[in-house]
Symmetry: C2
Subunit: 208 residues, 2 copies
């Protein structure tokens, strides 16, 4: 309906396939979406490139960005900082792009406070057994990290109702389409179309 | 997300193309949707068939249905009664069909009261000039009817904010897809997925 760009936050359990879903959306609808790249203080994993997966920062550099107000939100997860650089989001919304933020629950709720019109999606595997398999099954991390991840999943599970939409990632292609459908349908919400309604209303009253 | 059937009310200005949009939805997604057939006391137009476009009833028969509680909602429009037979809606929802009600604003708000989970869509032509053309341009009705229709349009314009979604019918095919997208996305609303959330949460807490 309206052509205003939408800010969408996508969270989900570790292993819910958020990253693949974002990649799918950008590949299928490159003119519609822009994905915000987060800043983090965790070390790059093999194959990760600075400025593509994350901006990899030292603790000092990250804290300086917090002080300078250059992050829209930030949070700690498994001993590291994660945050969203403000400039990229604001520039892309101004260009009319629907901006995607892939962040965890603490950050998501900070965004909702600052941008009440943001749309919050939560991704989940189809059931708890599959979730457990994905949380512990990556096999590349130590016991302590897995333990932290499980406890974070419990925290996230408690926060699911604070999101607007729940999306099950059972099949990646369906999941990408569902997310696209949800974000574009949000634009038809009456609460997002008040200018259009006002304009039609004035026209109708002028000729009735 | 969840597989519960949804009750959707579609209203819109006379000439907004509600009828064609419903027909398009049923043709494209026959297994998904069921269209409720309204009862009315207005006379059939040429080509209209009893039980297809409407159940055509006498004033007495309509009033008997009101008394017997067989209508989910009813309202008067341009001197005639219009109403929604209860049985068809309840049977189709029970079968898992997403039920579509094409009714005007008074009836829509009655439905929202009885079914708070119903989704309310309002269809509009792209702008007020086009709306005026469609309201007065059918050319088959007398001046009095057109005048009533214009005044009803003014009343409807004042009620647009009470709907959940606004859909512009500029191109029929796009309009059908937009309505389908909106209805199916509604099922991912967190408020409609509380059972699924509870089940995932219990699972996560069991293994963390």
């Amino acid at each position: 309906m309206n052509d205003r760009a939408l800010l969408t936050v996508i969270s989900g359990f570790a292993g819910s396939g958020k990253g693949s879903a974002m990649k799918g959306l950008l590949e299928k609808y490159p003119d519609t979406y822009a994905l915000s790249v987060s800043a983090t203080t965790r070390a790059p994993r093999p194959g990760e490139v600075d400025g593509r997966e994350y901006f990899f920062l030292s603790d000092e550099a990250f804290e300086e960005k917090i002080r300078a107000g250059e992050l829209l939100e930030h949070a700690g997860y498994v001993g590291h900082y994660y945050g969203t650089p403000r400039a990229y989001v604001e520039e892309n919304l101004a260009k009319g792009k629907d901006v995607l933020l892939e962040i965890e629950i603490q950050g998501a709720l900070q965004i909702k406070k600052k941008f009440p019109s943001a749309c919050l999606l939560f991704l989940t595997p189809p059931n708890a057994d599959e979730l457990k398999r994905r949380l512990i099954g990556r096999g590349t991390e130590d016991e302590e990290t897995v333990k932290k991840r499980l406890s974070r999943a419990a925290e996230e599970a408690d926060g699911m109702e604070q999101y607007d939409y729940l999306v099950v990632n059972d099949n990646l292609e369906d999941c990408v389409e569902t997310i696209h459908r949800i974000i574009q349908s949000e634009k038809n919400k009456v609460s997002r179309c008040l200018d259009e309604i006002q304009s039609i209303r004035e026209g109708v009253h002028a000729f009735s």
